[in-house]
Subunit: 336 residues, 4 copies
């Protein structure tokens, strides 16, 4: 973890994402039944979900809506004062800043600030959140993919250097990148907590949410979710994998929920908490960067993503990407 | 698999065990909820259970009774004629032979023959049995220890050479033994199907049932059942393990059901189907024979076992063991 | 296992394959270093390899040659008399029959008979074979994919009904098939030992060897071999997978050796030893048949295969396939 | 991670332990061959070892000596100034403080400060350390237990509240405790990095080193090291386990190296980085606290430990424990 710039909020970690889904029953089948999330709260409009290792109220919130979208991603900050600091920080950046008082926003969350960040994403910062019963050793309740915790947000954005600069200004470190011959950035993985990432950028039309990264404890749990989907004749929910990422070393499986939201069920990354942790740089020409085994990336994985909403719930406009990683035709991994 | 002696029935495999249990609800919690058996049939008195890989009606039958016991172990034979052959074979041995017509005995089983074998055990031979829906790839229904199939019976008997001789006369091969300095037999593992065993003999007071061996597919499934029992505060159902057996190479965990019946949940053995498959002999002084990692055997594991019933449902008398393996005090493994 | 027809040799199992390779050093890197086979015998021309669970001399033999090919597949039979029976059986079928005396053929193998079967494949039958040291529990020597044993031959052949009929005449049972709407056979899996198969038929130009199926004990061992190949920058040896087959339930990974010979490293199948074991039939339209998770099959997997030699070492002519499974365009699995 | 007290050094994590061993060849067999550590540096007197995920020079240093002992444990601090802060902090506590210049102390480490802490342990603080080649994805070099990283020190100390107070003054958080009926502390687990612990205290005669905690990625890697030791007839190096700890949720195996130094090979803990992370308290009467499956603790595990040296290399005197956890006779877990 790098030091926090003086004016920036001290972000602890990626905390939760709120997704708009069109059918809470179908979403529940997927997120609870298949992924194994635990329901911490539900009403007619919301489902608040938590992984087995998570001690705070939720890491995924599903909101009933007319169309699929990302409401916002949310970062937890270190102190209540950091919520104020977030308001000032994003106010100075010129974005809209909206205070959401406890009880008025997402269930379980205390006073929060929401903004549209310079990349066009709706982002919430909060300190206070309710805690939940410890489920770490409630093995009797673990099921499906046995998701332990939300690990990261992967966002599709047209301008990777801009995304890198913005998150650097928030004190995020950079664990890995994909770079071209002239060191132009195709993708970057950035962190506050001591893992490979809290947020990563996929070069593409944006702002859109590429996927939520969900950690589970061992590789057999990743395989099981694929087996179960096959059993049910729901194998079309499997988009890509299983495979080993070059970047991050994650053993991964990409799924699409009933609304098309993408999740990565994965296991294994590594500790990044040392003060001089160095960025590991992949060449865009290394066909192991996206799949360490050289398997081809599915086209939809590069192209599809979830639209994001502004603070009033209207879709954010989408801009085309400046670079196209799929044009780097190398081995099985490029799309050609 | 060795050739079948001319007068003996052609045994295919250990097929099922029928256990008397005192509380079907409690037994169901254990066998269905914890072990993951599927219920193929149930009524007020019987619960017929099947593992995920098993295609015949059941491999474990639980019968409601006043006291815990083994009703009988059952072997499937190759043809209907082998049922007749079994009747003649055991009749000539002087034991009681009882014909149990389809519909009059255990649910799902066709015409059968029951006897008390020379070792004092109640044994059934049958050919016909109902088939069940294929669950191998119904991963959505797999739960608990995800038991795939019954693998073997382990019986406690005072005279191991006599047990060895009897099963040899039935055409069983011998995969492994535990032997003393003068090659006196302390234990033996014998098979018809192409695994390490269908039946094994533990030297001890008998006739009693030592345990049922239940196969699951990977080691993490063995660990999970222990985790779940700990979660529920039911850790006293764990008697021994997990560990690796020297004999058979099984990665094992021994559990006791609510009535004290012992099961071994295990994974990994090896193919024994070649015609010249050789017996592998362990010295009783090798402290890896019972646990390849040298961990001590729990005393109850050697001492406790399930009483067996005669054909009229009365307890068979029990004789003391001729040899005592626990007297072989070697390293961690002997009890001293 | 079905009964053996009166005139047919009693085949115990698929025993070994002898492959012609162009560079023994490169082949050794792959088969020993990556797959983890143990070298039982080597000289300037031969490398005899054995898996960790195998107790006979070898299951794979690599022979130094000018061009890659299959020398022969070999089945072990139950008795020395069955070798004679094989000679008569194939003689009556009209194929060439050649006796190979102990010491004159493949190292470690006793008197054998070689023939070209009606499908055009070079096949050896033998009873006698040297035994090797037990490695099952020599975990200190296990490495790479920790291959436990050769499980099956998968052969590419143009006429699946003809292949099915021939192996049925040898007493093989059929565990699974892929069938069209009019029950036309696209593929079949047939066995003598109590697993899903000893031999399987892939519809394609033939006679050619599609792959050797190699069993390992747990899914993480399958994943490890892919990781190691990625580490070494040898990911192009990975052709397809990992994935779960619908047919056979195997968790698989297909690799190509330095000469292009294909191997399947897999884990998990199921017991087929009951006398009334039923064939499980997949529709060619079920996109889970080849990958239970609906992932697309790589085109080379259907198209490439190893040429086979006649008894004099000359390439067998290849005929085109009668059916084309890849024309069944269903979901991700067909090629279109 | 809690905030760092103003006068205390900002500790990043437990970084390495330096052990005195009597035979570097024997130690190398164990630490490199069995555990899978990579040798980063060696000379006639030192062996510097690193796990597969570790990017700094070493996490374990073995020093050739006449008798087994702990030279020192070492914590990495956030900045060079924190090394100075450590010197002041421990100087004010009245302990000896010795500066060890780069090149004069442990190979690979920059300027450091060594002290004897109030608990009697030799402790080093450093910022600068050489980096090593990234091995995370060098799967071809991973072997044995595939140790990924040193996770924690477990120290035997007679006065747990004193240990707790000392590490609290250094800004360590407390993840878990074992407590008596009156909340008297029997044991505590404390952390700076975002895992369950960097240091833990076992109530016992001390100062002594109880064990080094070594993380590996999946449970099958823990099992493999036990299998390999059994293969080699070295099963006496296995002291306890495998099992699941109640505290920390680690799946563990305790080994003793050729000098008797104890290591825990384990997998799975959980994230503790949130600012309001709460301490989880176990009752000393819960027989799942030390083994979640209720298996008995081996007596030597409570009694044996490694002596520690003062800054001149002389053994520190040992005081008896104030409390005896083994007197809490509960179920299988107490020793009675």
């Amino acid at each position: 973890m790098t030091a926090v710039p003086a004016d920036a909020p001290d972000v602890v970690r990626s905390a939760y994402a709120q997704l708009a889904v069109t059918d809470l029953t179908a979403a529940r089948w997927f997120w609870v039944g298949i992924l194994g999330f635990h329901i911490e709260y539900e009403d007619a409009d919301f489902l608040c979900l938590r992984g087995t290792d998570e001690l705070t109220h939720h890491s995924v919130v599903l909101r009933r809506a007319a169309a699929p979208a990302l409401d916002h991603i949310a970062y937890r900050v270190r102190t209540p004062e950091d919520v104020e600091r977030a308001a000032r920080f994003f106010g100075e950046l010129g974005g809209p800043v909206r205070r959401v008082l406890k009880g008025k926003g997402t269930p379980g969350v205390g006073d929060a600030v929401r903004t549209i960040d310079p990349l066009g994403f709706p982002v919430e910062f909060f300190y206070e959140i309710e805690h939940g019963e410890r489920l770490i050793q409630r093995f009797d309740l673990h099921r499906g993919a046995e998701i332990a915790r939300l690990d990261h947000f992967n966002i599709a954005t047209p301008d990777i250097p801009a995304a890198y600069a913005h998150y650097t200004s928030l004190g995020f470190g950079c664990s890995e990148t994909i770079e071209g011959d002239a060191h132009e950035l195709y993708a970057a993985w950035m962190y506050r907590k001591q893992t490979v990432h809290d947020v990563a950028f996929t070069c593409g039309a944006g702002p859109r949410l590429h996927h939520l990264g969900l950690a589970t404890h061992e590789s057999h749990k990743v395989l099981r979710v694929a087996d179960v989907l096959g059993s049910l004749g729901k194998q079309h929910h499997i988009e890509r994998g299983p495979g080993r990422h070059g970047v991050s070393n994650a053993f991964y499986l990409y799924l699409r929920d009933p609304d098309g939201h993408r999740v990565e069920v994965y296991t294994t990354d590594y500790y990044t908490g040392d003060p001089d942790h160095e960025t590991y740089r992949w060449s865009v020409h290394d066909d192991r960067r996206r799949d360490f085994w050289g398997n081809a990336v599915i086209e939809s994985w590069y192209k599809d993503a979830t639209p994001v909403l502004d603070l009033d719930g209207n879709p954010q406009p989408v801009a085309d990407s400046l670079l196209d990683e799929t044009a780097a035709k190398v081995g099985a991994d490029g799309l050609g």
